[in-house]
């Protein structure tokens, strides 16, 4: 086994069991997964196979019931809310299927938000947000509100928000799920480009085979475990 620091994400025998009343619903059943630094990984699988749960646990939004999670060499198991939030703020970017932009804020303000949380002064924050918008090709839309933009454009703003803080890891949950194939390809090109030029580790949960084909590796989940995996580019 390679040393931990070669991996951006290590999930070791991770279990996630939801309890409703006395009934247990296991979402992950001893899942083990390692994502190399700079890798672009697609996670596929039928609904209910634990894809989203995996992403939430890797993104520190959720805690495993059992098992170890190591992000960028840090074992996050025992960390408190404030440490986990700091890791999310500095090391992880999220992209969601439904974009999840805040509609009352401009594209620029939405993109700046992670830096505001980090306490970055306004001028630097604006410059970084404009640069992030430039990377997704939306520099001219900085002043627009999300609802003035198309779905594809909104998702590009969301990607800019995800990468504005220069995180080591970008986690995308069905990023093309709400988009037509043309826009889906634009999004996936942008993500691929970020992965290649910035070296950001990228994990994409997707149903879309065209999206998955563009990644380095595809992992298929079933019943909360890795069922199979295919390496496309070494």
């Amino acid at each position: 086994m390679e040393p931990d620091n070669a991996f951006a994400i290590v999930l070791e025998d991770v279990w996630k069991i939801y309890r409703i009343g006395k009934t247990e619903y296991p979402a992950l059943r001893g899942l083990t997964l390692m994502v190399r630094r700079g890798e672009m990984l697609s996670v596929m699988g039928p609904s209910g196979s634990g894809k989203s749960t995996l992403l939430h646990i890797a993104g520190t939004l959720d805690r495993p019931t059992r098992g170890r999670v190591i992000l960028e060499g840090i074992d996050i198991s025992g960390l408190d809310d404030s440490r986990l939030s700091e890791i999310r703020n500095r090391k992880i970017g999220f992209v969601f299927q439904a974009y999840n932009l805040i509609n009352r804020l401009s594209a620029l303000e939405n993109v700046s938000l992670p830096l505001a949380v980090r306490g970055v002064p306004l001028p630097e924050r604006r410059a970084a947000a404009l640069e992030a918008l430039r990377l997704v090709g939306l520099k001219d839309a900085a002043r627009k509100r999300p609802l003035e933009l198309s779905g594809g454009e909104q998702q590009r703003v969301a990607i800019a928000r995800g990468l504005v803080g220069r995180p080591r890891i970008l986690l995308a949950d069905e990023p093309t799920g709400n988009l037509d194939s043309k826009n889906a390809m634009i999004i996936i090109d942008i993500l691929r480009n970020i992965n290649k030029t910035l070296g950001t580790t990228l994990v994409i949960v997707t149903h879309n085979p065209e999206v998955a084909e563009r990644s380095d590796r595809i992992v298929r989940l079933r019943d909360g475990r890795v069922e199979s995996e295919v390496t496309l580019h070494a």
């Binding site: 999310r88 505001a116 949380v117």
Partner: protein
């Protein structure tokens, strides 16, 4: 926005970001925000206007009572008692330690013939040398004070000498005769006197309006009223703190035959009544502010529910639970602050307007002029009310903000 957990664990809160974020959230739900803010504004406006009005009434009553002299005591025959004061009573009271001056006096309702019309007022029969005790600081405007032993000389109040233009255009001059009609023990009597002095404007105290009175020496009053017994005795004491002791001495001398009135004892009673009244008004106003606080809570709970997904986003970009708590708490506090500021403005306006309006009804009796009430608006009241509004906002925001902070980010992000 929130804060940065630094390695040392100290949160550097960027208040300006949080303020801008809260303002944008309030603007997004403009209608609801305005209504909520209005509730707070009404509550704090009520506190300011009602409390300042109460304070204003307190000040007016205090001033008027103090015109009568805080260290004075008035001894009157009790209702139903047939006691009649004579010079012997004056001697007796003079012997009480602490008493400086004892001034017996007559008081009667009368009409004065000025020009072609009759002006109504009161006759105060008292030693003119002792008038300063009843009306401290009263000045002669024209002429001289009547001689204490005279039975014909009188001094007239300002409004008797210069009646309002609506009554008559003529005025009285020093040296002129004045015909006075008074109801006496022997029926309605008309007697003529000579004006030797005109008093300057003094104003109304609780018992007498100096400006509508005619002051005459005791012999002159006896000639007018045909009465040998004094109607009341004014007792001036050395110090205010002796008033209570001397009152008890007087009650010891006369028992239930007399009524003893003193401005300072009336004042403490009146003041405590006004104070309870003011507190009562303040409590009512505070209740309305609390209700407005429930409005904030309601609005914030709805807002938290509607913004669940936003909370999920905020958590996903690195906000801690405490940051989320603070963000929503700040929004509630801001609602209280804005409402409080508007309320302070409205309250000040309202209390000034209301004060003038109420002033027209506030008088001691029909023969007195209405007394303008000036609302007393202190910086303490304004600051206190503003702080109270902010506090109500913050406390109301506590529960919704806690709810927001405890929302599971995973569930929040799945919310539609």
């Amino acid at each position: 926005m929130g804060s940065t957990p630094t390695p040392g664990g100290v949160n550097v809160v960027n208040l300006i970001d949080t303020l801008r974020y809260a303002l944008s959230a309030l603007r997004e739900r403009r209608g609801r925000s305005i209504l909520t803010i209005l509730g707070i504004a009404v509550g704090s406006g009520l506190i300011i206007s009602l409390v300042s009005l109460g304070e204003g009434i307190n000040t007016v009553v205090t001033d008027r009572l103090m015109m009568l002299g805080a260290n004075n005591i008035i001894v009157l025959p009790a209702q139903g008692s047939n006691i009649q004061f004579s010079d012997a009573d004056v001697q007796k009271i003079t012997r009480i330690p602490g008493v400086t001056v004892v001034a017996p006096f007559y008081l009667a309702v009368a009409e004065f013939q000025v020009g072609g019309t009759r002006v109504s007022g009161r006759v105060l029969g008292i030693d003119p040398m002792q008038l300063q005790i009843i009306f401290p600081g009263i000045k002669i405007l024209e002429g001289d004070s009547p001689t204490p032993t005279s039975s014909t000389q009188i001094g007239v109040g300002y409004k008797v000498a210069f009646p309002p233009a609506a009554v008559t255009t003529s005025r009285l001059y020093v040296g002129q005769p004045l015909t006075i009609m008074a109801s006496t023990a022997e029926g309605l009597k008309t007697t003529s006197f000579t004006v030797t002095g005109i008093y300057d404007k003094f104003g109304a105290s609780v018992f007498f309006d100096a400006d509508t009175a005619v002051v005459m020496p005791l012999p002159a009053a006896r000639r007018l009223l045909g009465e040998m017994r004094y109607q009341a005795i004014l007792v001036n004491t050395e110090r205010v703190d002796l008033v209570e002791y001397i009152i008890s001495e007087l009650e010891g001398l006369y028992g239930r035959n007399v009524t003893v009135i003193s401005p300072s004892t009336i004042l403490s009673t009146v003041r405590s009544i006004i104070a309870s009244f003011t507190i009562f008004l303040g409590i009512i106003a505070s209740v309305s502010l609390f209700v407005a606080g429930l409005g904030i809570m309601n609005t914030m709970i709805m807002s938290v529910m509607e913004r669940t997904r936003e909370i999920g986003v905020l958590r996903s970009i690195g906000m801690t639970r405490r940051d989320v708590l603070f963000t929503f708490l700040f929004e509630a506090m801001l609602t209280g602050l804005i409402g409080g500021l508007i309320g302070v403005g409205v309250g000040v306006g309202l209390s000034l307007g209301f004060g003038n309006y109420a002033g027209n009804f506030f008088r001691f009796g029909p023969q007195f002029e209405p007394i303008p009430i000036r609302s007393v608006i202190t910086p303490e009241l304004l600051m206190g009310t503003l702080l109270f509004a902010v506090l109500v906002g913050s406390v109301s925001g506590l529960y919704p903000a806690r709810r927001a902070a405890l929302i599971d980010p995973v569930k929040a992000l799945k919310t539609e």
